[in-house]
Amino acid sequence: MSKSVGPVKRKFAPWLDPNAKPYIRFEAVTKRFGDFTAVDNLSIDIYEREFFSLLGPSGCGKTTLMRMLAGFEEPTEGRILLDGNDLAGVPPHRRPVNMMFQSYALFPHMSVAENIAFGLKQDRMPKPDIEARVAEMLKLVKLEKFAGRRPHQLSGGQRQRVALARALAKRPKVLLLDEPLGALDKKLREETQFELMDIQYELGLTFLIVTHDQEEAMTMSDRIAVMDLGRMVQVATPAEIYEQPNSRYVADFIGDINLLEGRVAAVEGQHATIAAAGLDRPIVTEHAGSAKAGDTVWFAIRPEKVRIGLEAPTDPSLNVVAGEVWDIGYLGDVSVYRVKLPNGTVVKSTLANVTRLVERPIGWDDKAYLSWPRDAGLVLTS
């Protein structure tokens, strides 16, 4: 692909360094349950201190992948390496990874402090050390006042923190998080996302997180692996996943996107013209990808990159289509305009509501012009 998109978070990108040694390595891993293939010949490298997300719809194999790393499932084929050591046959209680469970799995008959101390007691850590570590963990998750409570006496958010503290208490090199924020409400979820990022950064841990929430993955991760039907579809940074999806599946799964089917009329380097059904003029784009002339392709463009106006723009370099405003969704910060083209295709355009205007100039059934610059969209071949 062309240049990398945007600044890389914390200038951390060991996957670009050919000399970097991966910390966790899945080598051609396949997992079958009877006839069902949950994970299909999958390989990934995850680096130390990385915040890595496995993203996909339910049933895509992401949880199975994580459970294999924790040791609750053994791969049918392939190897899993942790810091160079093959994990085959190592039972879960001997693996240096800890997991935070989706249901939290707190021990109901133990207090918060006892839950956090559980793993340390297993290591036969001396009692004063355990107490010090528990106090430190309680402070980290801001639950000092709740040390003596039982899990059922806590709120959902507090339980989530106990689960996190318990998983972190043993200072694992790798923390596995299975839908860690799934049970929290939106506000709390957003707050916790940033807290998790801070904790991961401060303790210098490798986080492997499973989620079906694309926003969560986008916010927190260094890299995201988008999975479908047990296969890895794309592994990249959040910005790359969003701006340069490698397929319609990824483009559609992450965020909102307009997909226009067409045929490539001409290609010259990355410059291409595409004849799309129902459009009077061919689409001109600077991101042809691997498309060749004559291919059936999909032109993909994010709604926020499509401008909408009542007047036809005069700049000849812009792509312009005319249509009728079919629907308007007002979300407060932005409005979504769904514009119907003459052939019935609906194209979405989002407009940030930067002024406090109650009456919008563009209304239902108005004839509107949609336009976008040549480098705003990209061509997808699959």
């Binding site: 040791g71 039972p91 209680h93 990874v97 997991m99 249901s103 799995a105 021990f107 559980f118 793993g119």
Partner: protein, 301 residues
């Protein structure tokens, strides 16, 4: 405030709902108990019923009350038969409850860990013996345990016993234990199963993830979380075994003392209703103690 109470409906219906179980307990538990306590305080008499009247009109009420005495209770402490029966019952009930727990727990555990599809079948198999009368099942054990019974035949067939040897289990305490453990096993398994089935499997995964080997995980996670089932099962077995009459009567010999049998003898052979009532009241008091301990424990959870 007025709106609120109106929304909840009239008060008397609420009281009616609450009153039904209390009324039930009053009529079928408290009233008979009071009658038994009363009988236990009166004198034996050759009459029908065979005890001195306690209440036959207001005129003689105080005379009757004055005749009540604790004499029957004193009698229980005088004759060693009674306290030996109590102790023997306690011992048999405790031992057999322990055996039931040791046998029932692994069965309940295996049932709770079995694939979901076959669990109802396993549960059915545990309940199945109830379809046959309890008495017939205990009688069947006589056929198995008697000297020339099925067990002897089987062991002779296997060559464990010689052709002239016979098992000597019938009419011993061993036979009583076999009968009790067999009869009460479902009462132990069912509460254990319901406690173990509710146990969240991810707790064991979490324990293992935190470095706990499987055997230790059983003792720190599964066992403490199944304690309510253990306690319920033990009480469900211990209390009725304490008063068990049929099994020691059919399978036990003359040396097997159990309080249920003593009670029966007192009641039907000696026709001494006041003493047997006293025996029953003392038995109740003995059983109330563990129940209170249990309730106290439940409050703590």
């Amino acid at each position: 405030m007025a709106d609120q109470s109106a929304a909840r409906g009239p008060t008397w219906t609420k009281w009616l709902v609450v009153a039904v179980p209390y009324l039930w307990l009053l009529v079928f538990f408290l009233a008979p108990f009071v009658i038994i306590v009363k009988i236990s305080l009166s004198q034996t008499a050759i009459a029908m019923p065979p005890y001195a009247p306690v209440f036959d009109g207001l005129a003689t009420f105080w005379d009757n009350v004055r005749e009540l005495s604790l004499e029957n209770y004193v009698w229980l402490t005088d004759d060693p038969l009674y306290w030996r029966s109590y102790l023997s019952s306690l011992r048999i009930a405790s031992l057999s409850t322990l055996m039931l727990l040791l046998i029932g727990y692994p069965i309940a555990y295996a049932m709770a860990r079995a694939p979901k599809s076959i669990r109802p079948t396993l549960l059915m198999l545990v309940i199945l013996p109830f379809w046959t009368s309890f008495l017939i099942r205990v009688y069947a054990w006589i056929g198995i345990l008697k000297p020339e019974g099925l067990l002897t035949v089987a062991l002779q067939g296997l060559g464990v016993l010689g052709p002239d040897e016979q098992v000597r289990i019938m009419n011993t305490e061993t036979a009583v234990f076999i009968g009790i453990v067999y009869s009460y096993l479902p009462f132990m398994i069912l509460p254990l199963y319901s406690a173990l089935e509710k146990l969240d499997g991810t707790l064991l995964e979490a324990a293992s993830d935190l470095g706990c080997p499987p055997v230790e995980a059983f003792w720190v996670i599964t066992w403490p979380l199944s304690l309510p089932g253990v306690i319920a099962g033990c009480f469900l077995c211990f209390i009725p075994i304490m008063g068990e009459f049929v099994i020691p009567d059919l399978l036990g010999g003359s040396e097997t003392l159990m309080i249920g049998r003593t009670l029966w003898n007192e009641f039907f052979s000696n026709r001494d209703w006041p003493v047997s009532s006293a025996v029953a009241v003392v038995l109740l008091v003995i059983l109330v103690v563990p129940i209170m301990v249990f309730q106290n424990y439940q409050k703590k959870i």
